[in-house]
């Protein structure tokens, strides 16, 4: 009996015009998303390759990996290379590359793909997160009321089918429908993407499958919502409600989060930050200048060493100010994410970032990796420094180079030696959490949506028990 109901439900839905239209749209969208993402993936890869070539040219030049030049330039790059995750989302709100000097962590965040910035991009996130929620709502917003109008609900209860099993079969059939729609279309899209870009990797295939698996609770949330709404008296009024709920989650909450966070946890302007940084450095210099009394008695070299070390300390102060600045930025970003997390759509984005190692999840690790790389390089340089008599004062020399000398020809007090490990300067592998802790994190992030599902389910089943079906 139960099987018959299920099959009947699914068949009814297949016959529905709404379903047919949506299915068509989804297939087209999935294919278009594969095409457009492959275009953007190829251009991203090209620009990344350009960056790499530029770096290789600099290294081959030799000039740029001289210790003295290294100290002057921002040579350390920590980049997250483009990956097939583009098919899911571009994640281009966050920087791809951190450029920094090799003495201190003084990052410059650069973003390769600042181009057309519109609210919607055509990719899986758009389809699975936005269109799918809308589709499930519109499919299911008259699940009960339609049967009620047609009178079939009455017949079912007469035949001794339990009310609970009716609603559960509705629910399960919608989920099966969801999978029927999603799996073939998304697999086509994925294969098309791999074929167009010429990249294929087992890991990413599994990741795409995982993301489809994760999208199920989100789809089920919208199904429960639809079923819940479909039990109201006037089903045509409910469609308005449905549309606004969807728009609220998908558009209003993420956008409002940015505006609210900007008001609540505001950051300073670019110019103000720059002034604060310079002021921190200047104050430190002034303090040191007041402390020094007997510089007259120092020898010339010692005097320079002292001065240079002072500048070094002052630079450190400046970088501490920069750190605070980044922390403020991070705080604002975290606040945006926190407020936007109300919406299940944004939760889905958060989880996808963990799956694909991208976006805000990556940003922390990216910064950590950069700091580690700086330490590693600094140690190597000091080690190299200790082997070379002519560059006895690398750390002090840094300051001397920075502030006091304009590349005089032929007379540098430093070693002309090359840095022996240029490959350390271009980091593309960023360490993130290991797989088990990632899974734990994903599960933790899934809890709110599961709880929401449960609440809606209890509400819907309870309401259906008391529903007047005459």
């Amino acid at each position: 009996m139960n099987q018959i109901i299920l099959v009947k439900d699914i068949r009814l839905m297949f016959k529905d015009l709404k379903f047919q239209i949506f299915f068509l749209i989804l297939v087209v969208l999935f294919i278009l998303s594969a095409i457009s993402s492959s275009v953007s993936f190829i251009s991203k890869q090209k620009s990344f390759q350009n960056e790499r070539n530029r770096f290789n040219d600099l290294v081959a030049d030799g000039q740029h990996i001289q210790l003295i030049q290294l100290l002057q330039n921002r040579m350390l790059m920590v980049a997250s290379p483009p990956s097939p995750a583009v098919l899911f989302s571009e994640y281009d709100n966050y920087p791809d590359i951190i450029n920094t000097g090799i003495m201190f962590y003084e990052p410059e965040f650069s973003n390769n793909n600042i181009g057309l910035r519109r609210m919607f991009r055509l990719n899986w996130l758009f389809i699975l997160g936005m269109i799918m929620g809308l589709m499930m709502l519109i499919m299911s917003f008259e699940a009960i009321s339609q049967e009620k109008r047609a009178g079939t609900l009455r017949l079912l209860t007469i035949n001794g089918v339990k009310r609970q099993s009716i609603i559960w079969h509705k629910y399960i059939s919608y989920l099966i429908l969801y999978l029927i729609v999603i799996i073939p279309a998304s697999m086509t899209s994925m294969i098309l993407f791999f074929a167009l870009t010429g990249t294929w990797s087992m890991t990413f295939m599994l990741k795409f499958l995982l993301i489809i698996l994760i999208s199920i609770p989100f789809a089920s949330f919208f199904v429960w919502l639809g079923i819940f709404i479909s039990m109201s008296k006037n089903h045509r009024n409910t469609i308005v409600m449905v549309m606004f709920i969807w728009a609220f989650f998908v558009v209003i909450v993420p956008q409002a989060a940015i505006i609210i966070a900007k008001q609540v946890s505001s950051i300073k302007t670019v110019i103000e930050y720059r002034e604060i940084r310079e002021q921190a450095r200047y104050d430190e210099m002034m303090r040191q200048a007041e402390e020094e009394n007997d510089i007259m008695s120092l020898s010339f070299e010692d005097f320079f060493a002292l001065l240079a070390s002072n500048i070094n300390v002052a630079d450190e102060k400046k970088n501490q100010a920069l750190q605070r600045e980044i922390e403020e930025n991070m705080r604002q970003t975290r606040m945006i994410r926190g407020i936007a997390g109300i919406s299940p759509f944004m939760q889905f984005v958060n989880i996808s970032e963990i799956v694909f190692d991208k976006g805000f999840y990556l940003l922390n690790f990216q910064q950590e990796t950069t700091k580690q790389a700086i330490n590693q390089i600094k140690n190597l340089m000091i080690e190299q420094d200790s082997r070379d008599e002519t560059s006895h004062n690398l750390l002090y020399s840094y300051a001397y180079v920075q502030r006091l000398v304009f590349n005089r020809r032929g007379e540098t007090p430093f070693s002309e030696e090359l840095f022996e490990h240029p490959h350390l300067l271009f980091v593309t592998e960023i360490e993130t959490d290991d797989v088990p802790s990632k899974i734990m994190e994903i599960l933790m992030k899934l809890i709110p949506i599961l709880v929401l599902n449960l609440v809606l389910m209890v509400g819907a089943v309870g309401k259906f028990e008391r529903l007047d079906i005459r």
């Binding site: 965040f109 045509r236 558009v251 956008q255 940015i258 505006i259 505001s266 110019i271 304009f406």
Partner: protein
């Protein structure tokens, strides 16, 4: 006959619960967005006032050219409450040695780590929600009446089908127009009351024109809803069609153009153009740092370097006079070689922007049937937030720069900020000290009694050193500059007729598409089976 029917229609609409739901939602959204945007605008005004004060203070207190950092400051655009449009930098600090483009430093709050720009403004509310709202009201206006049976009764009256459709359209139109107009004019009144200082006649003209555009927009969508409701007899089906059309109009079609078709058409040209721009910048940098001939290379002569309390002369190569001459030659070299290339870079940047404007115009023509796209771009033009406005801001800033350069082009204008310090200190010293020996001692003390300066003095003898210093003092006038008269930058605004001339073609297309839709709806309803 028409007026009683209209009254009846409006009464019907007012009775429906669906309407109350949507109107409440819309009003809530409108109020929230308006308040948030107004707070944001107040913040912008505060920043603008700070910038102006800072600028005036800088100009007032400057004693020589090197201390002047003139800024072009743009008044915040009051219409950004309604349409954020294209983001225009608010402050450009004029640096004579860099091309003035959009990539200059901005006095903006930009999050380093998260660069999402919000679009949640009234225009977004209209294009995204109001369109949906109208379709949801009107999707069952014809076939719903048929289902209830009232359509058959109406058709028995001596009433033309044409006027029935007109009444339906006007009913929906008046209702939605009223829902929009009341909060809109209330908010305009609020702005007038609160932001008196930044109002202008242009604001009111724009406000009225914006309102007119919204009315056209509402007209189009009410007709579209009624047209769809004539296409099928089943209201549920027409609902699905409406949602489909809405998704296509607002999301799918624009996205496919922006990410699939437009990149294929323009990416090559744009890459070429931006490559040209980058090449110019690189060329300028090469001129500045690499290609300097020896007779103009300031690295070959000494500098005075300063850090904190200490500064050092390294004039052991050439001496003061030669050093100054070398610096002068360097600046002349920069002026003759570097400046023209930066102008070229500006030209290249403008070309990119013009290409983008062209792309936007093509987009408007491609989507001539899609009021969502048209309304977005037209309202940006009206409110003064379009790409054209950015170009104009850049142009006038460059004019200001040229004016300043022409007022008193001197070597100091063209110096890198790192070298300014030298002149500043010298002038300070020379203003305060009259006795030449004091001057000498001061410099000697500053130098810490060590270093190249000491060697220099020892080498050439104290007498000759004092001679150099005397020469410096005799050149005092050279540093004691008369500041040119500065005018404060005022943002030029396109006059209303200019804007109107620019958007007239699209406006005509908009109106024509509404008329075509009206004829289509009418023809469709003529063939509608009312039985």
């Amino acid at each position: 006959m028409l007026i009683p029917l209209l009254e009846h229609e409006l009464q019907n609409l007012l009775k429906s619960r669906r309407i109350y739901l949507t109107v409440t939602m819309f009003l809530l959204l409108f109020a929230t967005v308006f308040i948030v945007r107004a707070i944001d605008f107040q913040k912008q005004i505060n920043q603008y006032n700070d910038d102006v004060m800072l600028n005036d203070k800088d100009l007032r207190e400057a004693t020589n050219y090197s201390q002047i950092k003139p800024r072009a400051i743009q008044k915040p655009i009051i219409f950004s409450i309604f349409n954020e449009g294209f983001k225009i930098p608010r402050v450009i600090t004029i640096q004579y040695y860099e091309p003035i483009t959009n990539t200059m430093t901005l006095n903006e709050e930009t999050n380093l780590l998260y660069n999402e720009s919000t679009q949640l403004d009234i225009t977004f509310l209209i294009t995204f929600f109001l369109s949906l709202f109208i379709l949801l009201i009107s999707y069952d206006s014809v076939n719903g009446e048929k289902q209830v049976g009232t359509l058959r009764i109406l058709m028995t009256y001596p009433l033309k089908r044409q006027s029935f459709i007109l009444k339906k359209t006007l009913g929906v139109f008046f209702f939605v127009a009223l829902t929009f107009t009341i909060p809109y004019f209330l908010s305009i009144m609020g702005i007038t009351y609160h932001f008196v200082n930044v109002l202008s006649l242009n604001f009111f003209l724009s406000a009225i024109f914006y309102w007119f555009l919204v009315m056209l927009f509402i007209m189009f969508f009410s007709l579209l809803g009624i047209f769809i409701s004539c296409c099928t007899t089943n209201p549920n089906r027409s609902l699905v069609y409406c949602l489909l059309v809405w998704i296509m109009f607002s999301i799918v079609l624009p996205i496919s153009w922006d990410y699939i078709i437009a990149p294929r058409l323009y990416n090559d040209t744009l890459t070429q153009l931006s490559q040209g721009y980058r090449d110019k910048i690189m060329q300028a940098q090469r001129i500045m740092y690499n290609d300097v001939p020896d007779e103009a290379n300031i690295n070959l002569v000494g500098h005075m370097n300063w850090s904190g309390r200490h500064f050092f002369y390294e004039t052991n190569v050439a001496g003061w006079k030669a050093t100054h001459e070398q610096h002068h030659r360097y600046q002349m070299y920069i002026y003759e070689n570097y400046f023209p290339v930066t102008r070229d870079a500006e030209q290249a940047y403008d070309e990119i922007q013009r290409k983008r404007i062209y792309m936007e115009n093509v987009r408007n023509w491609v989507f001539f049937y899609n009021p969502i796209v048209l309304f977005n771009s037209l309202s940006a033009q009206i409110t003064g937030n379009s790409r054209e406005d950015l170009l104009r801001f850049l142009h006038t800033t460059r004019e200001l720069r040229d004016e300043l350069v022409n007022l008193g082009v001197s070597e100091e204008w063209l110096l890198d900020s790192r070298f300014f310090i030298m002149y500043e200190l010298e002038t300070d010293v020379m203003y305060n000290i009259t006795d030449q020996y004091d001057l000498f001692m001061l410099i000697y003390e500053y130098a810490g009694g060590h270093g190249p300066l000491e060697d220099f003095f020892n080498e050439i003898g104290e007498e000759r050193a004092v001679g150099y210093l005397q020469e410096m003092v005799s050149q005092q006038e050279r540093y004691n500059m008369v500041l040119p008269r500065f005018r404060r930058y005022e943002q030029p605004i396109y006059t209303f007729s200019e804007i109107f001339a620019r958007i007239l073609q699209y406006l005509v297309v908009f109106v024509v598409s509404i008329l075509v839709l009206w004829v289509m709806t009418w023809r469709k309803f003529l063939g509608f089976d009312v039985r």
